[in-house]
């Protein structure tokens, strides 16, 4: 998931860096107001936890294995601002210790995982939770859906950055978009399942942690608001995947790239052919993105329901007494 140096052009790296700096600066400001003197120990411990949690390998039945990314998880426990700072510092430490993820690309990585993951994820999570009625299932379903959408949004934003980086080359960016988003719809299901399980375990043991981060009234939701929640999630999924059908996004990208081409005044003729090349496989693209979208949405819904059922609220509480200091 980490972007290495060399994928994106320097100007795109600087622009994403500026956006991330602003977002993280604002988060720092908000976080200190909320957490007070608990800021350093809580955020630092969450950072070390995500750092270690990312090293737990989840088998997927293939030689490769997946791992947790943790942006939504951090936001579920710490709230959006401290979550964003914690994930940002995890990325900094991963670069400084492993040289994992690039130095120039740090801004882009922070934008994808911390800003989109924690702040964006938190927005989705609390909205779903509010509509589903607050308690256990709302918390789990909210985090599952938020985790999936966060991964998807990160991949879409990456495609945009990639396109801006190589605006002048004659590439079929629609295909890259298709490949990336389809792939990340699958990766996102993994992230969603892990996040959902972790949040459900925490909710059984320490519901106060999650209720503190996501204040919500305890009134039981009416069936009307549940219906509205289902509608909202459908709308989100459609919004994520209607783009190729309406081809609004690729067109927008095309026009941006076109402007860059004119500015560069290079390869002005080769740009024309890319659009013709796109036509024969355009149908395949749209079909595959929407199949991935529908399949992914269904898988995430199934995960949300199954995780909610798999561990009932009245499960025996496991002793959580930690070892001595």
């Amino acid at each position: 998931m980490h972007i290495q140096d060399g994928y994106l052009s320097t100007s795109v790296c600087l622009a994403t860096g500026a956006v991330s700096l602003g977002a993280v600066g604002y988060s720092l400001h908000r976080m200190k107001d909320l957490l007070g003197e608990r800021t350093v120990p809580l955020t630092g411990m969450m950072g070390s936890l995500i750092f270690a949690g990312q090293m737990v390998n989840f088998p997927i039945g293939l030689p490769v294995s997946g791992h947790l990314m943790g942006g939504v998880l951090a936001a579920a426990i710490l709230g959006p601002w401290a979550g964003c700072v914690a994930v940002t510092l995890v990325l900094v430490a991963q670069w400084a210790l492993f040289s994992d993820g690039g130095l120039l690309a740090l801004g882009a990585n922070v934008l994808h995982m911390a800003v989109l993951g924690s702040i964006g994820g938190y927005a989705v999570m609390t909205t779903v939770r509010k509509l589903l009625g607050g308690r256990f299932r709302g918390a789990v379903a909210g985090s599952v859906i938020a985790a999936w959408l966060a991964v998807l949004a990160a991949s879409a934003v990456f495609c945009l950055e990639f396109r801006l980086s190589y605006a002048a080359s004659n590439f079929d960016f629609g295909n890259i978009f298709t490949l990336m988003v389809t792939l990340h719809a699958l990766i996102g299901v993994g992230e969603a399942i892990i996040t959902g399980f972790v949040v459900s375990v925490i909710y059984q043991q320490r519901p106060d942690l999650i209720d503190m981060a996501q204040p919500v009234d305890s009134t039981v939701a009416s069936s009307a608001s549940r219906f509205a929640a289902a509608g909202l999630v459908c709308a989100l999924a459609v919004a994520a995947f209607a783009a190729p059908f309406a081809s609004a996004l690729p067109d927008g990208l095309d026009s941006v790239a076109e402007q860059f081409r004119i500015a560069a005044s290079a390869e002005s003729t080769s740009g024309l052919f890319t659009n013709y090349d796109q036509i024969p496989i355009a149908g395949w693209q749209k079909l595959s993105v929407s199949v991935a979208g529908i399949g992914g949405s269904l898988a995430v819904f199934a995960a949300a329901v199954l995780i909610g059922r798999a561990i009932p609220m009245n499960a025996p509480v496991i002793a959580t007494e930690a070892t001595g200091e």
Binding site: G6, F51, L97
Partner: protein
């Protein structure tokens, strides 16, 4: 674990003795140059590559270690780069893929050099000098201190899981077990954070970070 991460951070060489800000500036400038140079000026890449290898050999980082790290890194960079020709029907995109892979490896080697000549503590001091907010540096320092503790705890839980042979079962079951492990680890870590916070408060912690070098 620290031994694997920045194994050569504490050895002695000219590179290690350079002022930390200079090391950081050197690494950033080489990465920026590497990303900015167009591919048609390929001799410049050769020069940069030689520079990077010279830096590594002066710092006394053995070639075997570099190759080992590169072998771990290559699958990541190539899996992303291969998506370029793959998405273009295998007839275009190979040049861009090579370009990305080459630049990626160059930047990775530079980062690796920096990691190995600048221990994490030194990075924290440098960040302080560069006027990064002290709360950020304090959180990073806290993270670095406790990541080993959390890792140890995770290792104990893994051993316990292995000893009870919870390795079989369906994929769904294994995912559930592993996620529950992370969840328990999270709760234990937060409990620990609360205890540490209590200990810090009893020693006069008021949320304000004070550094020893502030006094002079």
């Amino acid at each position: 674990m620290s031994d694997f991460w920045d194994r050569y951070g504490r050895s002695v060489s000219i590179c290690h003795r350079l002022p930390p800000v200079l090391k950081l500036a050197l690494a950033v400038s080489i990465i920026v140059t590497g990303v900015a140079i167009p591919v048609r000026y390929w001799p410049a890449y050769g020069v940069l590559g030689c520079l990077v290898f010279a830096g590594h050999s002066i710092a006394g980082i053995p070639l075997g270690y570099l190759i080992k790290r590169l072998l771990i890194f290559l699958p990541f960079v190539s899996s992303m780069a291969i998506s370029l020709p793959l998405s273009q029907g295998l007839d275009r995109g190979w040049d861009l893929m090579l370009q990305i892979m080459f630049r990626g490896c160059l930047a990775f080697l530079v980062s690796l050099w920096l990691v190995n000549v600048m221990p994490f503590e030194q990075l924290l001091v440098t960040l302080r000098k560069l006027k990064v907010p002290s709360v950020v540096v304090a959180i990073l320092a806290f993270m670095y201190r406790y990541v080993f503790v959390v890792w140890d705890e995770l290792d104990k839980m893994r051993t316990a899981r292995k000893a009870r042979s919870f390795s079989g079962g369906s994929l769904w079951f294994r995912w559930r077990t592993l996620s529950q492990m992370i969840g328990m680890l999270l709760i234990r870590s937060l409990n620990r954070a609360e205890r540490i916070h209590g200990a810090m408060c009893s020693r006069g912690w008021d949320g304000e970070v004070r550094w020893l070098d502030d006094q002079d």
